[in-house]
Amino acid sequence: MILILQALINGLMTGALIAVPAIGFSAIFAVLRYPNFAIAAYATIGAFAAWWANTTLGLAVVPALAIAFAVTGVVGVVAEETSLKRLRDKGALIVAIASIALNLVLENVIRFAFGNDMKGYDLPIARDLRFGELRIGPQQLQSLALAVIIMAAMFLFLRYTRFGKAMRAVADNPDLARLKGIDPARIAIVTVFLGAGLSGVGGVLIGLDTSIDPLTGYRVLLSVFAAAVLGGLGSIPGAVVGALALGIAEEMALIVTPATYRTAVGFVAILLMLTFRPCGILGERAA
């Protein structure tokens, strides 16, 4: 029982961290209609940007997160405008493949600049909090709180700001949005900035928990993708629900299978979802 409860807590924690880049992935999909696998590299870049701010500039977690968000957002926009954008009208599959290539390039730029070694954030070491037999790390708790705040901010942005509404309008019907004077090209740039930025923040939150290296983002890419598919591609609340469900499923699977099979959970989740409900938990249309 304790085992299951602990797995549930751990699942919600990892799920919340996955949810942040999953929102970024889904937002880009909703507006630009292609799956951007380069978010893995964006997550890594975010993690390194925050690490640099943290260890070199001595910044605390929150300002380092802000720097990671800005740096990754800019990298995302530059990458989009210089490479992926040209391929957009060739179809979603072509851009998706190009984003995998872009991911490799960016990942190796990081490797070239920072080396292959694992790096850790400069954080105070703290004892786990104990609730009876349940254990929670204070760092995990802080990351969870940050993830929740970031998600809430994103919801408020999409729901209440003019730009958020314009983004949703373009996602729903770009032609109609244009008749109303919304420029989809501008919306696309902001969406990529937000999506890449959120991926970067996600990379930091994931890195805070353990350590970072050039494959930090790549390791969670499948989980992020699975979470987005599970929740319904293009649906922001769906990405959150999918990430939490996947996080819990992964942790639960650890109880019965060796840790090597953890990633298999993501694949199985995608497979089951596409077989029985292709539009996802909260999705409105099949992708």
Binding site: R162, D172, N173, L176, R178, L179, G181, E284
Partner: protein, 254 residues
Amino acid sequence: MTAALIIAELKLDFYGVHVLRGVDFTVPAGSFTGLIGPNGAGKSTLFNAVSGLYRPKGGSVRLGAVETTGLPPEKLVAAGLVRSFQLARGFPKLSVFQHLMLYGASQPGESLLPALWRSHTARRREAELAERAHGIARRLRLDHVLDNPVTALSGGQKKLVEIGRALMADPKILLLDEPMAGVNPTLADEIAGHLTALNRDGLTICLIEHDMALIKRLCAPVIVMAEGKVLTQGSFDEVAADARVQEAYLGRRH
């Protein structure tokens, strides 16, 4: 007769394919002009180029006396050129009423200050628009579904919302892309009735339609497009009798 819309030598390419190869025609003011042609003739593309969604490669579009070539879509809507879409998807999360309100001309809520202020004039304008939306809904018999989300409507009702939305923008000329396609015959007849009534009230309409019986009943003149150009034009009987039109539809005899 004055012209509502003059299209001259309009050209447009897609990846090197000449989709519009110099389209020339005029929609007379107050007319109910029909635009027909086999699939792939470039009819919808022409609408997209005229309504500002695509940028033409050459040629010109004039709305009455005003040159409008290359203007962005929202400027064209403001100038009175309003179109409907073949796929009447709309914004799935909005209700019918919200849809209509969204396309009201000069919405006060669109600029930040009046939206925050909710000044007297802004409120009055909004009340006017709401009044207008209700009027249009009554006219199109959408009043009983005003608060339903557009996704809950039947295919025919969605087409009516498309027309209603266009009317909210106070159009001088309405470009309609197959507003009756895929709609059951009774509702298609009703839509045709609405369009005839609107035209009789002075609205210029240019209609893309595949149902020849409808074109024959509603439209004069009829313009036939094929392979990115205007093939011929005239009354329905004239173009129907034209051997080239039959050839374009049925394929060339070998």
